[in-house]
Symmetry: C2
Subunit: 181 residues, 2 copies
DNA sequence: GTCTATAATTTGATAGAC
DNA sequence: GTCTATCAAATTATAGAC
């Protein structure tokens, strides 16, 4: 029964992810985290020595989970639109579940002022997601006949569209806008 | 000859815009601004009483300039692709001129933690840009025969694509990625 | 593993002299 | 319009007791 109770480390990661997605990396503090989970900021430092280390871990966990949900690209649908829709649905659920945008979209927006290790993890998100889309799309009936560059362009367009769509839907406070994309 | 020398207020706005586009609203301070233009932070407060007031003014000026460059939508091209390309070129030049993303894209990413007056100006950017695109597109040979909703969807897709594209191009440190969109 | 206490710095903002 | 001086609060981070 006790396995369901998240440890302090996971609770820190959960709250940090939520706060970054809401306010950005520069928009939360160790004290926000500590207060939110009911400990002191020194305890947060025990688990994550620096803010950069925490940010990097949050981004890595987010990316791992995102790609884990997508699964094996070799088992993705054979219809190209279905592949795109699979990714669209994942971005969409991130938006609806907690009304937040993509963590790595936020980090990308701030990236020029981010600690290197955080920026590197955010960059990896886009590399890995684009690679997954390329792999999945090149198996589809559409992609089989396409040069690699055309597949890559489609993958990039999809990611850019969804990232931008989340930003617009959020600031316009209208989640329906995302579904028009 | 002296007309070319920007006043303190404009120099504050210029630097604030650059810093927000680089690090986000929470990623710059009045002292950063002051040091950058060679005054003290109290002088910055003389021109802009609060950080929120400065942020809002930066966003409004950015939006005004953006739409001013686009010009009258009734004089936009009659080819729909040319209209989209006009907007694409504007986003692209923002990226190339100073290697930065769209100011309001950054603000949108942080919007949940922004002062109301700043968030309102960022929101207005997307409203005004989308409206411009709707007006311009509905005049095109393509748009003339389309229902308003289809035109609006196209407009939103274009803005989302370019905003997302800027974010990806910047974090991947590859401006060429934007041109694939 | 969490706490108290605190250091060192930075932040947004104000008062008042010039 | 810009300055010096300063405030109160918040920030990341550390030392050491429990």
């Amino acid at each position: 029964m006790a396995e369901n109770v998240a440890g302090t480390e996971d609770r820190i990661l959960d709250l940090a992810e939520l706060l970054i997605r809401k306010n950005g990396y520069n928009g939360f503090s160790f004290r926000d985290i500590a207060a939110g989970i009911g400990v002191k900021s020194a305890s947060v430092h025990y688990h994550f020595p620096t803010k950069a280390a925490l940010g990097a871990r949050v981004a890595k966990r987010y990316t791992d989970r995102f790609l884990d949900t997508l699964g094996d690209p070799d088992k993705a649908p054979e219809d190209a639109n279905a592949v795109i829709d699979k990714v669209r649905a994942l971005f969409r659920s991130a938006m609806l579940e907690d009304g937040r945008v993509c963590l790595c979209g936020v980090l990308a927006a701030e990236s020029a002022g981010l600690p290197d290790e955080v920026a590197a993890e955010a960059k990896a998100f886009f590399t890995r997601l684009t690679n997954w889309l390329c792999a999945a799309l090149s198996r589809t009936t559409w992609g089989k006949d396409q040069p690699a560059e055309a597949v890559r362009t489609q993958a990039l367009r999809a990611v850019a569209l969804f990232e931008g769509g989340l930003l617009i839907a959020r600031i316009q406070n209208d989640t329906d806008l995302f579904d028009l994309l």
